[in-house]
C-alpha cells in the first residue's frame, strides 16, 4: 500500500516506513527530513522496547494474546504517534480516528 493511503486519512500529518536499523524506506507528509528521521528512529526503538515489554508481560501474566506485539500508540495532548510493524505516523488529535488509522497501518505493515 502506498503510504499516501494513510496520509489522506483525517488527522494524519506524516507517515513513514522504516527499516530495522532505523533508516527510512519511504516517507510522506509535512515533516522536515530531520524530524522524519527522528520519528523513524524513535519508532524503531519503541517497537523493540514494546516488543520486549510485551514478552515480559506475556511471561509474567502467563496469558496468551500479548506476544507478538503488533504496534503501539503514544497519545500526547495535541498529537499522537502510532505505529504498526514498521510503519509509523503522526496524527493531530483534533481530527484523527485512531481506529481507522490503526487499521490502515496494519494493512500497510503487512504489505
Amino acid at each position: 500500500m502506498s503510504l499516501n493511503k494513510i496520509l489522506v486519512l483525517d488527522g494524519v500529518t506524516a507517515v513513514c516506513r522504516f527499516r530495522d536499523d532505523g533508516a527510512i524506506m519511504e516517507a510522506e507528509g509535512m515533516l522536515s527530513p530531520d524530524l522524519m528521521e527522528r520519528m523513524a528512529r524513535f519508532a524503531q526503538w519503541y517497537r523493540r522496547t514494546v516488543s520486549s515489554n510485551t514478552d515480559l508481560l506475556s511471561l509474567f501474566s502467563q496469558m496468551r494474546g500479548w506476544s507478538p506485539s503488533q504496534g503501539w500508540i503514544v497519545q500526547g495532548a495535541g498529537l499522537t504517534v502510532c505505529s504498526t510493524g514498521n510503519v509509523v505516523c503522526l496524527v493531530g488529535n483534533a481530527q484523527g480516528s485512531l481506529n481507522e488509522i490503526m487499521r490502515a497501518l496494519g494493512e500497510a505493515a503487512h504489505e
Partner: protein
Amino acid sequence: MDLEKMMELPGALAAFTYNDRGDLQSHVLREGAELTPQVLDQLAHSCVANLAIASMEARGWEALTGQGGFQPLKGFSIVGLEWSVVANGNRGVVVKNRDADYEATFNAVQTA
C-alpha cells in the same frame, strides 16, 4: 542522605532528587562535570521509568518462580561508557565509572 553528602561518594559527578513523575526537584553538580540540569531532568525521568519496570520485573519474577530476594527493590543503575547513574526512590547519583563504588552508592540512595 542529603545531596551534599551524596557528592562525597567516590566519583560523584551529580546528585539529584525528583518527584514521582520524574521532574527534577533539586540537584548538585560537580564543577566541570559535562552534565546540565536538562540532562539531569531527563535522567530523573528515566530513573522513574526504570525503577517502575524493574519493580514490575521483580514482582513478576518472584510470583512466577517462587524465588524471593528481589522485593522490595533497592535501586537501578544504568552503566554508561564513562559514568553510571544509580537511583532509588526519589534520589539519584551520577558517578564516574573509574572511581565508582556501586555498593556505597546504592546504600546512599536508600530512603532514610
